[in-house]
Subunit: 215 residues, 2 copies
């Protein structure tokens, strides 16, 4: 099933980089875990990084009840949520054809506040599991007071698109004879050795989901 | 020297995470290389990922002359440019106190189009060198036609702020007794083995700046 292209999601340039199938869009959303949320109260744009999770055809974001972003968005204003994964630097023979390999998704829509307790708890679980699977079951669940202090918003995945670049550089034909290295430097987010909290009891070992963390 | 706080850059929550000194703001801008640019023509927000470079008190972004973002921004509308570096996942004992270690910068302002040829070439060089130092000297410089096809914008670094979280989780006092691992999973962007362009001549070796790429 694919997303219908709209004026907001249509790619004006390089249309072959555009993808509108849910498989591609959801694959990127499920691999990333930080989005940049754009909103523009009174025409002034703000771009705020935050965690997110996808469940079926909804995108959840959350944060403090006091957050300017969440208060603004829960008023039902237009939002643009962008997720970007950088896969590599593309080194061409000309400065002009340098590029990056990346996968990005843009979602347009209006968020709604989740007020139902059960749906809110399920969304918080999804937000946690999306970032680190297996963690939720081991930690203390939110209290009623913490639930009240947390705002969770849901954005319908109705108007969305992906943009993807892969592969080697594309140079002008006459530049291929140049004596300069060309290719791709792959980039990826890697997890290092977990650092125990200084207050952690010595007998508590690192769980596998933290030791082998991967995205 | 510090940035003057404004209504747009002031942190309403967790003010101790805010930094307004140029050293911190510029350190983050110089380590990152992807920004998310927010703009809102007719009130509709867009958030677009792109490369950037800082030179002194200016931030440069560039792209195709045909880009909707660059055409919109060169009209002098309000922009918000955000750079985010994720340093780690912070695993607390309660779901509520989970967090991330990160360093982010938000820049507000209006961009101007660079029309002077010399300044434009210097900005393109800076954009290239910011992403991969040493590359510019080896590749073919932009032709006049390529220069015409490229738009470069400059955003003054006048209204900017950084937000930084570091260190271990901060749990509620009564949760420290829980038998669950807590600490930080460090995350960083790592470069892999460079992949040669399939059309690269065999005698051309990988330059050090690509083999040992680091941010």
């Amino acid at each position: 099933m694919t997303f219908t292209q709209t004026d907001r999601t249509k790619l004006k340039r390089l249309p072959k980089r555009g993808h509108f199938d849910r498989e591609t869009v959801y694959g990127i959303l499920d691999e990333g875990f930080i989005c940049h949320v754009g909103f523009a109260p009174e025409g002034q744009p703000f771009v705020v990084p935050t965690g997110y999770a996808r469940v079926d055809d909804k995108l959840y974001i959350h944060g403090s009840q006091a957050s300017r972003m969440l208060r603004s968005l829960s008023g039902g204003v237009d939002a643009c949520v962008t997720v970007t994964i950088i896969d590599g630097l593309v080194l061409a023979r000309s400065a002009f054809h340098h590029s990056m390999n990346y996968r990005s998704v843009m979602v347009f829509g209006r968020a709604t506040l989740i007020e139902d307790r059960e749906e809110k708890m399920a969304a918080l679980l999804a937000l946690s599991e999306h970032i680190i699977r297996g963690r939720w079951a081991e930690v203390r669940e939110p209290t009623e007071q913490e639930m009240k202090m947390t705002t969770v918003l849901s954005l319908p995945l109705v108007e969305a698109s992906a943009k993807v670049r892969t592969g080697p550089p594309l140079d002008d034909e006459e530049d291929y004879a140049m004596e300069v290295w060309a290719g791709v430097i792959p980039l990826r987010l890697e997890a290092g050795e977990p650092i125990a909290d200084p207050r952690l009891a010595e007998n508590i070992t690192v769980p596998a989901y933290a030791r082998d963390y991967k995205r």
